[in-house]
């Protein structure tokens, strides 16, 4: 499996660490159902997902990788700094 780092190009999976689902951070600091979902609840979708991957053995960037869990197809990646979450 290779991931298309926007800076480095296609790189081997061993250069990356999986950092979980890429979720939009809830607005505001008060506890509520939004924060509960953000911290604890994860979907297990069959199909397109957005995940965070850290390119620690490469450029050091955090990427949002769009991946299909059914077809095992990696559709693309962008820097998380350019906007995480869907």
């Amino acid at each position: 499996m290779r991931l298309p780092c926007p800076l480095c190009g296609a790189r081997d999976i061993r250069e990356f660490s999986h950092m979980g689902a890429a979720l939009a951070r809830p607005d505001g600091g008060d506890w509520g159902p939004d924060w509960n979902d953000y911290l604890h609840n994860r979907d297990n979708p069959a199909g397109q997902t957005e995940e965070l991957w850290y390119h620690g053995q490469g450029c050091g960037g955090w990427l949002v990788v769009t991946r299909d869990t059914v077809r095992h197809e990696v559709r693309g990646a962008r820097l998380a700094g350019e906007g995480a979450g869907a």
Binding site: R11, E15, Q57, G58, C59, G60, G61
Partner: protein, 187 residues
């Protein structure tokens, strides 16, 4: 007063030779990491440009005589061979890393085959041509690999891992050389 003797990171470990392959150490001189502060990228690029250098695109090395700027990661570059110009510290976080890196040169026919045993990088010339640099994994160690000639590479590894780095490189060199001189066909 103790009389201190400067010792290079790979002293006593190199040179290594195997068949046509050679591994030697390079002294790059001063190495400074440059990480522009938020919003200061253009100012840093202009200041480096005034030295005949510039800010490197991903994978790029900008050389000017003995000085060069080497891409080193997201919003990070190494200034090599010269001290940072006055005022650069106002726009970027600078760190002297001169003594932190072991720098090796691997050359000879089959140098790419040696690296292919150690790193997942795509080393084909159409992808990783002469003058390009990359951060990657080399024998499970973080490394920076730069292609300086068609069959010559410059490899930077942590000084603390210099012994392991040379060991891994030497083992791969020996095996590539053995396959190339073996009477049995194959690479």
């Amino acid at each position: 007063m103790a009389d201190l003797v400067e010792k290079s990171p790979c002293a006593g470990l190199v040179p290594v030779a195997a068949g046509a392959l050679r591994l030697s150490e390079i002294a790059l001189g001063p190495i400074t990491s440059v990480a522009p502060y938020k919003g200061q990228a253009a100012a840093v690029a202009a200041m480096l440009g005034a030295q005949g250098l510039g800010w490197p695109a991903p994978g790029q090395v900008i050389a000017q005589g003995a000085a060069r700027v080497q891409w080193f990661g997201l919003d990070l570059a190494l200034l090599i061979g010269v001290a940072p110009g006055a005022g650069l510290a106002d726009h970027a976080a600078l760190a002297d890393q001169s003594d932190g890196w072991a720098v090796l040169r691997l050359e000879g026919a089959g140098a790419g085959d040696v690296l292919a045993r150690l790193t997942p990088l795509d080393l084909r010339e159409s992808i990783f041509g002469v003058g390009q640099t990359a951060r990657s994994d080399l024998g499970h160690m973080a490394a920076a690999i730069t292609r300086v000639e068609a069959e010559a590479y410059e490899i930077m590894g942590f000084r603390s891992m210099a012994g392991t780095l040379v060991h891994e490189m030497a083992a791969a060199m020996t095996r590539v050389a053995a396959r190339r001189t073996s009477p049995a066909k194959g690479r």
